[in-house]
């Protein structure tokens, strides 16, 4: 019985209308304690109206070493951006 408590990542919604944003992490023995610790650690000044905690080992992340290959499919598709298209002078509301 001498293991470290699991690590949880903490996400805060600062006010309704905004999405949750990563704030940091806490250690806790279980989910409820993770929420309590996240509240005490990251929202002492009313920084949030909602908290998510998720076990860090449950997060699936892309590999930074593979970043360019992984995101490569989007790289050459500049036609996805409105600036790719010609809009002649005099044309409005486009």
């Amino acid at each position: 019985m001498n293991k470290e408590w699991p690590l949880y990542e903490v996400f805060i919604r600062s006010r309704s209308g905004l999405s949750h944003k990563h704030a940091g992490s806490v250690h806790a023995a279980d989910d409820q304690m993770a929420l309590d610790h996240a509240r005490d650690t990251y929202t002492r000044r009313m920084e949030g109206v909602s908290l998510w905690v998720v076990r860090s080992d449950q997060i699936v992340a892309s590999d930074p070493a593979e970043t360019s290959a992984f995101f490569e499919p989007a790289e050459d598709k500049i036609y996805r951006h409105p600036t790719f298209y010609e809009v002649p002078d005099g044309v409005e509301n486009l």
Binding site: M1, N2, K3, E4, W5, L7, A23, G24, S25, V26, H27, A29, D30, M33, D40, T41, Y42, R44, R45, A61, D63, P64, A65
Partner: protein, 329 residues
């Protein structure tokens, strides 16, 4: 509360265990030079990782040990208002320690390992917390001077090249300003009070002034590893530059309070606009770092005691979690 240039003297970097090619190192430096942030899983030189682990964990330990000198006055604060404020401040210090441990953990070191290193005396914490808080005025002086020095040092760290550290520092800096102001206000009230209260405020400034200047770490000429930290943009200003800034902003505040800075050599250099200050007793600094300050042993004994006394709580929480998980299965 504070991190200090503790490892900039007498420590040589060990050769990296893994092979790091010149191309990798150059690409890394190019990212730094382009002001890109380095994130947890990105490739980084082993020495960069090691420097950060040491600096961030020392910073975290400083926050945790830093609760002790102020905690000393929690039950003796002069009013309910001051007690509530001090309690909130000490709780913030715990929070700062936790943000920083969490930032250091992203570099692959475990929380338990960092705590073990602190308790074994392998990891350092800021020398300032080895001084005693003898009177209530010391709580004012700590907020005003120690947190003031911390802010000076920490604001540039918000732009540190390592993302998780920089983000933790942004959060910390937002909270430090309350710490400094509540300290200054305590000093202000004392200096507006009775002669005894004024004397108490002066005594606190006299004792905390020099240790506060030492918080910025050794002088640049003795700071061997500063250059590498600057190149990596972990550090943005040298120890002496930050110390000078601190003196420049703090001396007028002392004058406002009607208190005397305990430095006979202190004078304003009209040409540069900077205050020239006297020689710092570096022997005292190194003695305190080496474990021979007024309170080193007391601080470590208290930390060890808290760790031991809390062991059953940690174990019980884990046993409860295991039991609940088994029931649910």
């Amino acid at each position: 509360m504070y991190t200090q240039g503790l490892d900039q003297k007498g420590q040589t970097s060990k050769p990296a265990a893994v092979e790091e090619s010149a191309e990798q190192l150059a690409a890394f430096q190019a990212r730094i030079d382009a002001e890109e942030k380095i994130e947890a899983k990105d490739w980084m030189p082993e020495a960069y990782r090691r420097t950060l682990v040491r600096q961030i964990s020392q910073h975290a330990h400083s926050e945790i040990i830093g609760m002790q000198p102020e905690g000393n006055w929690l039950t003796r604060a002069p009013s309910l208002k001051r007690k509530a404020i001090l309690l909130a401040k000490v709780q913030d210090e715990a929070g700062h320690g936790l943000y920083l441990y969490s930032a250091a953990e992203t570099l692959g070191v475990s929380r338990d390992q960092m705590v073990a290193d602190l308790l074994a005396g392998k990891a350092k914490y800021s020398s300032i917390f080895n001084y005693p808080t003898l009177t209530w005025a010391d709580i004012g002086a700590i907020g005003w001077l120690v947190d003031g020095a911390a802010i000076m040092n920490q604001i540039p760290l918000c732009r540190c090249s390592y993302g998780p550290y920089a983000r933790a520092m942004v959060r910390i800096c937002k909270e430090e300003s309350f710490h400094q102001r509540q300290g200054f206000e305590i000093m202000l009230e004392l200096t507006r009070g009775s002669d005894e209260q004024k004397a108490m405020a002066q005594d606190a400034l006299t004792r905390w002034w020099w240790p506060s200047l030492m918080m910025f770490g050794p002088s640049d000429k003795d700071s061997k590893h500063s250059a590498q930290s600057m190149a990596w943009k972990i550090k943005r200003f040298s120890n002496d530059e930050l110390r000078q800034k601190f003196v420049d902003v703090t001396v007028p505040q002392a004058e406002f309070l009607g208190l005397k800075v305990p430095d006979d050599d202190l004078e304003l250099d009209e040409a540069s606009g900077h205050y020239r200050y006297g020689d710092i007793d570096w022997q005292e600094f190194y003695d305190v770092l080496a474990g021979n300050g007024p309170c080193n042993r007391q601080r470590m004994a208290k930390r060890q005691g808290a760790h031991d006394d809390g062991a059953w709580v940690r174990e019980a929480a884990q046993a409860y979690a295991a039991k609940q998980a088994a029931k649910a299965a």
